[in-house]
């Protein structure tokens, strides 16, 4: 191979990885990064400890931003299942986020349901919307799929803006904060811990998923759909499972986003939201769990750090994304050396 590789060739090389040979992709990568498993366990314990002690060290402002970052960790891990694992470009991921948030919002506000009772309904609604979006579109080519998911995302947002039950353009407000064993989850610190639990849960679920039979099936389908099918993998069912899994992650994010803010409006679920989540997944490195977490933090903390740049910061982000695609298409997180 030539001493210098073009971005394209590097991307190609990455795509031709004999990936099925490493079923424990998430864990193995982490282990390689940290060297030995003992260091790895130590680092994990350190991160968890840091997260738990966080609010005692952080100011209120930083706690709120960290909560937001953890929300994005959940969302990005969800989108990572669809884009990174199964290789389906979804440009309407905010739709699932919206379904979760609005289902909870509508059930608790308009129908007076208990918050906890609304969760299973919201998850089922998200799973169903995953099937509705995925079902007819998964046989399409990847670029058609991208645009159709974009269209669906916009349909969801337009519907939320035009329907009576979703509170039209002003959205829903006054969503009750949840109670748990007589304790009302209402302060910023309370919600911080809720999102710590959700994010850790999402990470563990993602690692377990990439470790599982379906996770390996996603990998096969992403690398060679025809070969996967020849090996007896039901292409459509496997892709649909990726959609539904991603939808459930998104809905969980949405449910707790709604009760955290107490108010939701259609503009929280715009195309930019979908792009932001996608950007995080790509920045960190598609398919790599630690990379995606890193991406989520960059996407939330970056704009805070660049706040002085004003409107230019989005441009900085966009140029960054372009440069990453051109020079490091596998993301910031280091991949395997060949």
């Amino acid at each position: 191979m030539l001493p210098f590789k073009t971005a394209a060739r590097r991307a190609e090389a990455q795509d031709n990885d004999p990936a099925p040979a490493r079923p424990l992709a998430g864990i193995t990568q982490l282990q390689q990064w940290f060297g030995r498993p003992a260091t790895f366990r130590g680092a994990m314990a350190g991160i968890v400890l840091l997260l738990i002690l966080g609010p005692f060290v952080f100011s209120q402002y930083i706690t709120v931003i960290m909560t937001n970052a953890l929300l994005y960790v959940v969302l990005c891990l969800g989108l990572n299942v669809v884009v990174g694992k199964a290789g389906l470009l979804d440009l309407g991921y905010a739709a699932f986020f919206a379904v979760g948030a609005y289902t909870t919002g509508i059930l608790t506000l308009q129908f007076g349901w208990n918050f906890w009772a609304s969760i299973p309904v919201a998850l089922v609604a998200a799973a169903i919307s995953g099937v509705i979006i995925g079902g007819p579109t998964l046989r399409l080519r990847s670029d058609y799929l991208a645009i159709v998911t974009l269209g669906f995302g916009e349909i969801v947002r337009f519907s939320a803006r035009n329907l009576e039950i979703t509170g039209a353009a002003s959205g829903l407000s006054g969503i009750q904060q949840p109670r748990l064993f007589g304790w009302t989850i209402d302060s910023a610190v309370d919600f911080y811990y809720v999102f710590v639990v959700l994010a850790i849960g999402a990470v563990i679920a993602s690692i377990r998923l990439s470790d599982s039979r379906i996770g390996r099936a996603w990998l096969y389908v992403r690398h060679d759909e025809d070969a996967a099918e020849a090996m007896g993998i039901n292409r459509v069912a496997v892709k649909l499972a990726a959609y539904v899994t991603g939808a459930i992650y998104g809905a969980i994010g949405g449910i707790f986003f709604a009760v955290n803010l107490g108010a939701i409006s259609p503009e929280s679920f715009s195309f930019e939201q979908s792009v932001l989540i996608l950007m995080a997944v790509i920045l960190g490195g598609m398919g790599k769990i630690p990379g995606v977490i890193l991406g989520a933090f960059i996407i939330v903390l970056g704009p805070e750090l660049l706040r002085d740049l004003g409107e230019l910061r989005l441009l900085v982000f966009a140029i960054g994304l372009l440069l990453i695609m051109l020079f490091r298409p596998s993301g910031i997180w280091p991949g395997r050396t060949q």
């Binding site: 394209a8 991307a11 470009l89 916009e154 409107e311 994304l321």
Partner: protein
């Protein structure tokens, strides 16, 4: 107004809207034809076209006026400038990615779109810019239907551009090479066709057509802003898909069909104008699901 008049008036509105869609859809379809890329940034190229046209009109407006003459001139300059912008975009962003997996190049296109949008956002502060023209509101009344001269000029200009494109593609050496490249790139290389150059020409023409549409739309609607390319990009893609992506007559027909469907769609009871966009996205999804090859497209067995 009678029902017939309302429908006839919507026919006129639909034709104007459809002309914009068709011009933008042509770029989508041509670029897709030669490099099989869905150029997400194409709607933003249209937006840049509007802004460049506005800038030129502001510069020369004092000399030639802001009537149709001035607009035609600024449209022409905008077409050239944005055409070359399209070539630069292709060379910087897409060319190195042509051999990369499809997902990578799609995301690159998305990144280009964000860069274009946010550059204009940073320059304009996200405000609507008034596109001041001196076009007047004159027109002729046919029965109960009122057609403004502006609408006629607009549809006329769009028709001229499309005819010119059709002539270029079917009658010239470059057009023939372009069609050949869209069929088989490797064979073209063997036949001595400079594929890289043909791709550049395609981007030049596709972007120039979008710029023409952008300037005309700015003049017609009277304002421009950084996000104006997003929705029309989606709609134009829908139009290209309806016509069969990769097919030039298909894009023209698809644009007009979508414009008309949208105009008539606003008249369907319970749908109304606030559901107009949902209506066109639903059309897109239905077409993709039931007839992904569109009206004029060739069937293609291909997976990601």
């Amino acid at each position: 107004m009678t029902t017939f008049d309302i429908l006839a008036q919507q026919l006129v509105n639909g034709l104007v809207l459809g002309s914009f869609y068709a011009l933008v859809a042509l770029g989508y379809t041509m670029i897709f034809g030669v490099i099989k890329l869905l150029n997400f940034a194409h709607g933003d190229v249209y937006m840049i076209g509007g802004f460049v046209g506005f800038a030129v009109l502001s510069l020369v407006g004092g000399l030639v006026g802001t009537g149709w003459g001035g607009i035609a001139l600024s449209m022409f300059v905008s077409m050239i400038a944005v055409g070359f912008l399209g070539v630069v975009i292709e060379r910087i962003a897409y060319h190195p990615m042509l051999a990369a997996p499809r997902l990578s190049i799609l995301i690159t296109a998305l990144a280009v779109s964000l860069v274009l949008q946010n550059s204009v956002l940073a320059l304009t502060g996200g405000e609507f810019t008034a596109f001041r023209t001196n076009l007047g509101f004159g027109g002729i009344a046919l029965g109960g239907v009122f057609i403004t001269y502006n609408q006629m000029v607009l549809v006329g200009m769009a028709a001229i551009l499309m005819l010119a494109l059709e002539t270029f593609v079917t009658r010239t050496q470059y057009g023939r090479a372009m069609r050949a490249v869209s069929i088989d790139k490797d064979m073209c290389r063997l036949m001595g066709i400079d594929v890289t150059k043909i791709i550049a020409v395609t981007f030049l023409i596709g972007s120039a057509l979008a710029a023409a549409a952008g300037t005309m739309a700015g003049a017609y609607y009277g304002s421009i802003w950084y996000f104006m390319g997003f929705l029309i990009g989606l709609k134009a893609f829908t139009a290209a898909v309806i016509g069969g992506i990769g097919s030039i007559p298909g894009a023209m027909a698809g644009g007009l069909i979508l414009g008309l469907l949208e105009a008539f769609g606003t008249q369907i009871p319970f749908i109304g104008s606030e559901w107009k966009d949902v209506f066109s996205f639903s059309i897109l999804i239905l077409v993709l699901v039931f007839k992904p090859t569109g009206l004029f497209g060739k069937s293609e067995v291909e997976r990601m």
